[in-house]
C-alpha cells in the first residue's frame, strides 16, 4: 500500500486511482446518455452533471454502504458514486422494466436502498427534510449512520432548506448538507438570487458548521467530507458544505444557454475540469503513466457503452405495472 498523495481519509494510490475511474465512468455514463438521447432512445428529459464529478465522487465514496444519501434531479453522479448499479440506471432512464424503479421513475427518481441511496428528487429542495428524517432515524436508533443530502445552489432559497437545517441543528443530527454550487439555478445566476457571497454563510444562522471549498479539486472534497463525517459522528451536529463547481451542459435538454457566455463555459471546461485536474495531479505524482491512463480510460468507455447496450435490449414495462405499488401492502 503506497500513499503518495496525503489525504485525511488515508486513501492509498490504488484507492485514489479507483476514484478517478469512478469519475470517468460517471462522465462516460452521461455522455452515453447524451448520445442515446440524440438517437431518440430516451423519453423525457434529463439533467447532466458533466463537470461536477469530483463533488459526487470525493464525498459519496467516503460513505459506507449503510450510510444514506438523498439527491436531486441532477443525481446521476451521486447515485453512481454511492454504488447504484449503472446497468439498472441505464435501464431506468431508457424506461425499461429492469430499471431501478421498473421504468416508473426515470432520470429524476433513482433510488437503491441496498446501497444507501434514499432516492433522488424532482422537487427542488424536496430532499432536505427527507434526508433530515433519515438522520433522525440514525440518531434515534443509535446506528452510527451518516447522511449526505445533496442539493444545488438554487435549492437553498427554498423554505424547506431553512426548516430542515434548523431542525437538524437543534437535534444535532448526523447529516451533511452538501451544496454543489454550480453557479446557476436553471438560467438564474446564484449571485442574482442571493445577496450573500458564500452560501455556506447560511450555516451560521442555524448554529451549524459551514465551509466553502473548490469543488472541482477531488482531494479538497475528500478532506472536507472526511472532516465533516468525523464532526457529525461525534454528535456535534450537522455540517454545511458548499462546493464550487460548474455544469458544462445546460440545465436540461431544453436549455439553449442564453444566460451565460461561451467564454465562461470554456474557461471552466479548459482550466477547471475536475477530471483533467485529477489526471494532471496523478500523472505529476506518478500514480499513473500517460499510457496506462489512456488505456484504462478507453477500456472503461467501451465497458460503459456495453452496459448501455445490454440495458437497451431489456423489455419495457408491462401495462399491469401501472397499477402496482400505488399503495404498500
Amino acid at each position: 500500500m503506497t500513499q503518495t498523495i496525503q489525504n485525511k481519509a488515508k486513501l492509498d494510490d490504488q484507492a485514489l486511482i479507483h476514484l478517478l475511474e469512478k469519475m470517468w465512468s460517471i462522465r462516460f455514463f452521461e455522455e452515453t446518455l447524451e448520445r442515446l438521447y440524440k438517437e431518440g432512445e430516451i423519453y423525457g428529459t434529463m439533467h447532466l452533471s458533466i463537470g461536477q464529478e469530483a463533488t459526487a465522487v470525493g464525498s459519496a465514496s467516503l460513505l459506507k454502504e449503510t450510510d444514506w444519501m438523498t439527491s436531486t434531479h441532477r443525481n446521476h453522479g451521486h447515485s453512481l458514486a454511492k454504488g447504484t448499479s449503472m446497468y439498472a440506471m441505464f435501464a431506468e432512464i431508457l424506461g425499461r422494466r429492469t430499471g431501478t424503479s421498473g421504468g416508473k421513475g426515470g432520470s429524476m427518481h433513482i433510488a437503491d436502498p441496498s446501497v444507501g441511496n434514499l432516492g433522488s428528487n424532482g422537487i427542488v429542495g424536496g430532499g432536505f427534510p427527507i434526508a433530515t428524517g433519515a438522520a433522525l432515524t440514525a440518531k434515534m436508533q443509535k446506528t452510527d449512520q451518516v447522511v449526505i443530502c445533496y442539493s444545488g445552489d438554487g435549492a437553498t432559497n427554498e423554505g424547506s432548506f431553512h426548516e430542515a437545517l434548523n431542525l437538524a441543528a437543534i437535534w444535532k443530527l448526523p447529516i451533511i448538507y452538501f451544496i454543489e454550487n454550480n453557479q446557476y439555478g436553471m438560467s438564474s445566476s446564484i449571485h442574482e438570487m442571493t445577496a450573500i457571497e458564500r452560501l455556506s454563510e447560511r450555516s451560521l444562522s442555524y448554529g451549524m458548521k459551514g465551509i466553502t471549498i473548490e469543488g472541482n479539486h477531488l482531494l479538497r472534497v475528500i478532506d472536507t467530507t472526511y472532516d465533516a463525517i468525523q464532526h457529525v459522528k461525534s454528535g456535534q451536529g450537522p455540517v454545511l458544505i458548499e462546493a464550487l463547481t460548474y455544469r458544462h451542459r445546460g440545465h436540461s435538454k431544453s436549455d439553449s444557454g442564453l444566460y451565460r457566455s461561451v467564454e465562461e463555459t470554456k474557461a471552466w471546461q479548459d482550466k477547471r475540469d475536475p477530471i483533467t485536474q485529477t489526471e494532471t495531479l496523478f500523472l505529476a505524482r506518478g500514480l499513473l503513466t500517460n499510457d496506462v491512463l489512456l488505456e484504462r480510460k478507453q477500456a472503461l468507455k467501451t465497458q460503459v457503452e456495453k452496459v448501455a447496450e445490454r440495458a437497451k435490449q431489456d423489455p419495457r414495462p408491462e401495462t399491469a405495472a401501472l397499477f402496482t405499488h400505488v399503495y404498500a401492502e
Binding site: 436502498p113 427534510p129 432515524t137 434515534m140 402496482t324
Partner: protein
C-alpha cells in the same frame, strides 16, 4: 361496567398504546410535550415516553412532515400532529409530492408508514384560517389514505389501523367531536380502513355523512322519525379507501340519498359520492334526484351567526330531507 371516555381521550389512549407496543412509533409536532398539543391529544405522553419519542418541534410544518417521511422510509413509524388541519397547506409538497409518491416512484423500494393527525372543521369561531375541511384535496391524491372518524370508539380503532398501515394516512379529527363521550373498549383494537358503518338503520332515505355531520344527521334522523320518515345514516369513516359496497347497499334499499359534508360543496367529496351512486346500476332506480349539502362557497367567517350559516346544521338536514318527500 361501561367505560365511557371522550373522543380526545380515545385518541390519547390509542397513541399511548401504540407507543407502548412498538418502539418504532414516535410522535412529532408543535407543542406536543408538556402542553399536550393544540387540543390536548398528547397530554401526559412526553412524561411517560420521554422527549425522544414525543418530540416537540419548531413551527415548521414542512419539515415536520418531510422529516417524518424520511424517518418512515428508514424504519420508524412517525405519528405527526399539525395543530390545525389548515396548516396542511404549508406541508403540501412533502405530503403530495413526496409521501404520496415515494412508494410508487421508486417501484416499492420504500414505504412511508406515517400518520398525520390534525384538528379540522368549523364551529369554534376560529375563523377562516383555522376552520377548514380540506380532506377532499387529500382524497384526490393517489398514494394517500384519508380517515375521518366521527365517534370516540371509531377514533381509537381507526387510529390504531392508521398507525399499523404502511402508507401515509391523513387522520382528520373534528374539533367539535373532541368532547363527545361514549363507551370505548379498553386496550388496543383495530377498525380496518375502508369499512363504512351504518350508524342508524332506516328504510326511506340514506344520509351519507362525514365527520361531525354524522352527529347532525343522527339528530336529524330522530326528528324525522316523528314526521314518519325513516332515515338510514351511513358514515364512510374513511374516504380513501372508500367502502362503496356498504354505501350502495344502503341506497339500493332506500332509493333516496342525501350526502352531507362540512366541506365546501363545490368540487367536494360529496360530488364524488354522488357520482359513484349515479354511475352505479342503481343510479336510474332512485325515486328522487341525489341531494347534496355542504359548506357555503365562502371562507369560514368568525362571527357565530355567520359561521353557523356557512355549515350544514341539523335543521338544514331536516328541511332538505323533508323536501325530498314533498
Amino acid at each position: 361496567m361501561k367505560r365511557e371516555i371522550s373522543y380526545l381521550h380515545a385518541i390519547n389512549e390509542a397513541l399511548d398504546e401504540a407507543l407502548k407496543e412498538d418502539p418504532a412509533v414516535f410522535l412529532m409536532g408543535e407543542d406536543i410535550g408538556i402542553y399536550g398539543g393544540g387540543f390536548g391529544a398528547t397530554r401526559g405522553l412526553e412524561r411517560k415516553y420521554g422527549r425522544e419519542r414525543v418530540r416537540s418541534t419548531p413551527i415548521s410544518e414542512s419539515a415536520i412532515t418531510g422529516v417524518a417521511v424520511g424517518a418512515a422510509m428508514t424504519g420508524l413509524r412517525p405519528v405527526i400532529e399539525l395543530q390545525f388541519s389548515d396548516f396542511i397547506t404549508i406541508a403540501m409538497d412533502q405530503l403530495v409530492n413526496q409521501a404520496a409518491k415515494i412508494h410508487y416512484m421508486y417501484d416499492g423500494k420504500f414505504s412511508v408508514p406515517l400518520v398525520m393527525r390534525m384538528a379540522a372543521g368549523a364551529g369554534t369561531g376560529a375563523a377562516a384560517q383555522h376552520s377548514q375541511s380540506l380532506e377532499n384535496w387529500m382524497a384526490h391524491i393517489p398514494g394517500l389514505k384519508v380517515v375521518q372518524p366521527a365517534t370516540p370508539s371509531d377514533a381509537k380503532g381507526l387510529l390504531h389501523a392508521a398507525i399499523a398501515d404502511n402508507n401515509p394516512v391523513i387522520f382528520y379529527e373534528h374539533k367539535l367531536c373532541y368532547s363527545m363521550v361514549e363507551e370505548v373498549p379498553a386496550g388496543k383494537y383495530v377498525i380496518p380502513l375502508g369499512k363504512a358503518e351504518v350508524k342508524a338503520s332506516g328504510t326511506d332515505v340514506t344520509v351519507i355523512a362525514t365527520g361531525v355531520m354524522v352527529h347532525r344527521a343522527l339528530a336529524a334522523a330522530v326528528q324525522l322519525r316523528h314526521q314518519g320518515i325513516s332515515v338510514e345514516v351511513v358514515d364512510p369513516r374513511t374516504l380513501v379507501p372508500l367502502d362503496e359496497k356498504t354505501i350502495l347497499n344502503s341506497v339500493r334499499k332506500t332509493k333516496r340519498v342525501m350526502i352531507v359534508t362540512e366541506a365546501v360543496k363545490n368540487s367536494g367529496f360529496g360530488a364524488e359520492l354522488a357520482a359513484i351512486i349515479a354511475e352505479s346500476e342503481i343510479g336510474l332506480t332512485l325515486l328522487t334526484p341525489i341531494k347534496r349539502l355542504g359548506g357555503a362557497f365562502t371562507p369560514i367567517p368568525c362571527a357565530q351567526e355567520l359561521e353557523t350559516k356557512a355549515i350544514p346544521q341539523e335543521g338544514t338536514i331536516v328541511t332538505t330531507i323533508m323536501e325530498m318527500f314533498k
